[in-house]
Amino acid sequence: METYKIYILTSAVLFVIGIGGVFMARHFIKKIIATVIMGGGVFLCFVSFAERDALTFADPVPHAMVITGIVVAVASAAFALALARRIYQLTGEQSFPIDK
C-alpha cells in the first residue's frame, strides 16, 4: 500500500472526527479544537496528494495551499477563541445556552 493511501484515509477520519466534534462538543474550546482537527484532516488530504504526485519534489502547490490554509485556520481559531473568552468574561458561559 502506498503511503499516501494511509494518510488519505486518515485525513477522512480526522475530518469526520472534526465535524462530529463541532456538532457534538459543548465547550467552546472543544468546538474550536474540533474545527482545527477538521482542518488538519483537510490539509492531510492535500499533502497526501502532493506526496502521491511527487516527482523530483513533492507537488508544491498543495503545500503552499496548506500553509496558507493553516494560517487562515489559525487566524479564525484565534478569533473564535477571543470570542469564547470574551463571552466567558461577560457571562460565565462556556457553551451555547441553547445546547444545554
Binding site: 474545527t35 484532516g41 473564535a80 458561559e93
Partner: protein, 511 residues
C-alpha cells in the same frame, strides 16, 4: 478564456480596498471614518468603471503574476461578476454613507465602532475578490476573508448576544469553509487543477467528484444559510449594529450563493442530476416557508428581518431545480433557463437593496426608541414618515409586489416554474409572498397604530433616513434597466453560452 482581453481593474478592485483599509488603521477613530468613507467611494467608483469596461469589452481577465492557470490564478471579470460587484458597490456606498452618519451620531458612546471601516473595506475587497475569482482555492481564501470580517463586524457592538451569535456564526463559517476545502482537496487530487474553467472541461464524474460536490455544496449552504443550516443567521444578523446587519444580509450571504451558482454551473454540471436539483429546491422551498413563518411570529424587528433573510435566500435556492434539466429534456427546448437565471440575479439584487434598507431602518428605529421590540414601531408613520416609507417600500419589494425588483425576480421564477412544468414550486413561491406580506404589513400596521406608551423619542438625523429610503427605492429602480441588464448578462460566460454546460450535464446518474 486566456484569450480574453486583459485589464488591470480586477486586481485594483481587490487591492485598493485592502490598501485603503490598511491605511485607515493608522488613524484614530475620526480619521478612520474619513479614510473609510473615502475608500468606499473610491471603490464604488472603481466598480462603476469596471462595469463600464465590461460593458464595452465584454468579459475581461487578469492573469495574476503572469502565470497562467492551472499554476497561476486568474481573475475573471465577466458580466455576472461585474453585476455582483456593481450591486455590492451600490449597496456598499449607501451603507457606508449611512454608517458615516450613524457612527457620528453615536460617537460619544463608543469609539470602538471605528473599526467598522477597515473591516468593512476588507470585507468589500473579499467580496470583490470572490466575485472575480476563478480559482477554487482562491475562493476559499476569499470566503475566509469575508467570513472573518463578517463575524468581526457582527460582534462589533460588543453586546453579549452578538458575541454568542458571532461565535456561532464563526464556527459555522469555519466548518463550512473546511468542508468546502475538503472538497477542493479531493478535486485537486483527482484533476490536478483548481481553475474553474479548466475543471469544467476535465472533471470526470465519479464517486469522488460527487462527494466533493456534496461537501462543497454543504459548506456553501452553511455559509449562505440554506435551510437546514440557517441556524446561525437570525441571531447574528439581528444582534449586529445596523449598518453591519445591512451588510451581512445584503452582501455577505450572497457571496456563498455566487460561488454555489458558479460551481454548479461551470464545474459540477456533469455530476448534477435532476433529483439533486429538486432536493436543493426543496431546501429552498422549506426555507421560504419556514423563514417567512418564523419572521411572521417574531416580536423583535431585527429578528423579523433576519428571519426574512432566511426565506429570501430560500428563493435563491429554488432556482437550482430549474437550472437542471430533467432526463430526456433537450437543451434547446429548455427555454426556462433564462428566466430562472434572471430570477436568481434579480432576487439577489432586490434582496440586497431591500434588506439593507430594512436593517438600516431598524437601526434608525432603535436609535430613536432605544429598542427594537416591534411595539417600537407604533405611530412611526407620523414620527418618521420617511423611515415608514422605507420599510414599506423595501417590504413591498420583499413581498414581490410590482414593480419592484422582488416582483421581477418572482415573476421570472414563476415563469421558469411554469415553463419547465415544475408546477409544484408555484404554491411555495406564493405562500412565501403571502407570509412575507404578513410580516411586512404587520410592521406597517404598527407604524400606523397609535402609540401606547410615552417612550422617549430621540430625533434621528434626516440623512440616515434618506439613505434608508434611497436604498429601498433602489430595490424598485433596478427593474427599469432590466432588459439591458439581461442582455448584458447573457453575453456572460456563465449566463448565456455557459449555460450549455448545465444542459449538457446530467448524464451521470440520470439513467
Amino acid at each position: 478564456m486566456i484569450n480574453l482581453p486583459t485589464s488591470s481593474l480586477p486586481a485594483i478592485l481587490v487591492g485598493l480596498p485592502i490598501l485603503v483599509a490598511t491605511l485607515s488603521l493608522f488613524f484614530r477613530s475620526r480619521g478612520k471614518a474619513v479614510v473609510g468613507l473615502l475608500g468606499s467611494l473610491l471603490t464604488a467608483g472603481l466598480a462603476l468603471i469596471a462595469f463600464v469596461e465590461v460593458a464595452q469589452l465584454g468579459s475581461v481577465i487578469h492573469i495574476l503574476g503572469g502565470w497562467e492557470p492551472p499554476l497561476g490564478i486568474l481573475l475573471r471579470m465577466d458580466p455576472l461578476a461585474v453585476v455582483f460587484i456593481g450591486m455590492t458597490a451600490l449597496v456598499g456606498v449607501f451603507i457606508s454613507l449611512f454608517a458615516w452618519w450613524y457612527f457620528r451620531a453615536q460617537e460619544s458612546t463608543n469609539g470602538k465602532f471605528s473599526l467598522f471601516w477597515p473591516l468593512w473595506l476588507f470585507l468589500w475587497a473579499g467580496l470583490n475578490g470572490l466575485f472575480l475569482s476563478n480559482d477554487l482555492f482562491n475562493l476559499f481564501v476569499t470566503i475566509e476573508v469575508i467570513g472573518i470580517c463578517a463575524v468581526a463586524l457582527a460582534v462589533l457592538s460588543g453586546k453579549t448576544d452578538s458575541l454568542f451569535a458571532g461565535l456561532r456564526y464563526l464556527l459555522a463559517a469555519i466548518t463550512g469553509s473546511m468542508a468546502y476545502l475538503f472538497g477542493v482537496a479531493l478535486i485537486y487530487g483527482s484533476t490536478g487543477t483548481l481553475d474553474l474553467g479548466l475543471l469544467g472541461q476535465i472533471l470526470e464524474p465519479g464517486k469522488t467528484t460527487t462527494f466533493a460536490l456534496l461537501v462543497i455544496t454543504f459548506g456553501l449552504m452553511v455559509k449562505m444559510a440554506g435551510f437546514p443550516f440557517h441556524f446561525w443567521l437570525p441571531p447574528a444578523h439581528s444582534s449586529a449594529l445596523a449598518p453591519v446587519s445591512a451588510l451581512l444580509s445584503a452582501l455577505v450571504v450572497k457571496g456563498a450563493f455566487y460561488i454555489l451558482l458558479r460551481l454548479w454551473a461551470e464545474v459540477f454540471g456533469i455530476s448534477l442530476t435532476y433529483a439533486g436539483g429538486q432536493l436543493i429546491g426543496l431546501a429552498g422551498a422549506v426555507a421560504v416557508i419556514w423563514g417567512s413563518w418564523q419572521a411572521f411570529m417574531q416580536t423583535n424587528l431585527k429578528l423579523i428581518i433576519a428571519h426574512s433573510s432566511v426565506a429570501q435566500l430560500g428563493y435563491l435556492l429554488m432556482i437550482f431545480p430549474l437550472l437542471i434539466l430533467a432526463p430526456g429534456v433537450v437543451a434547446g427546448s429548455a427555454d426556462w433557463l433564462s428566466p430562472a437565471w434572471t430570477a436568481g440575479v434579480y432576487q439577489v439584487m432586490a434582496h440586497a437593496f431591500a434588506k439593507a434598507s430594512f436593517f438600516l431602518s431598524a437601526g434608525i428605529i432603535i436609535m430613536a426608541q432605544g429598542h427594537d421590540h416591534k411595539g417600537s414601531l407604533r405611530d412611526l408613520a407620523s414620527r418618521m414618515p420617511m423611515t415608514t416609507m422605507a420599510i414599506g417600500i423595501a417590504g413591498v419589494s420583499l413581498i414581490g409586489l410590482p414593480p419592484s425588483g422582488g416582483f421581477f425576480a418572482k415573476w421570472m421564477l414563476l415563469k421558469g416554474v411554469f415553463l419547465s412544468g415544475q408546477l409544484w414550486w408555484a404554491p411555495v413561491i406564493l405562500t412565501g409572498s403571502f407570509l412575507t406580506a404578513g410580516y411586512v404589513f404587520m410592521l406597517l400596521r404598527l407604524a400606523f397604530a397609535p402609540a401606547r406608551d410615552q417612550e422617549p423619542f430621540r430625533p434621528v438625523p434626516h440623512s440616515l433616513q434618506v439613505v434608508a429610503l434611497l436604498l429601498a427605492l433602489g430595490s424598485f429602480l433596478i427593474v427599469f434597466p432590466a432588459e439591458n441588464l439581461i442582455q448584458f448578462l447573457e453575453s456572460s460566460e456563465t449566463f448565456g453560452s455557459g449555460i450549455e454546460s448545465i444542459m449538457e450535464g446530467g448524464a451521470y446518474g440520470n439513467n
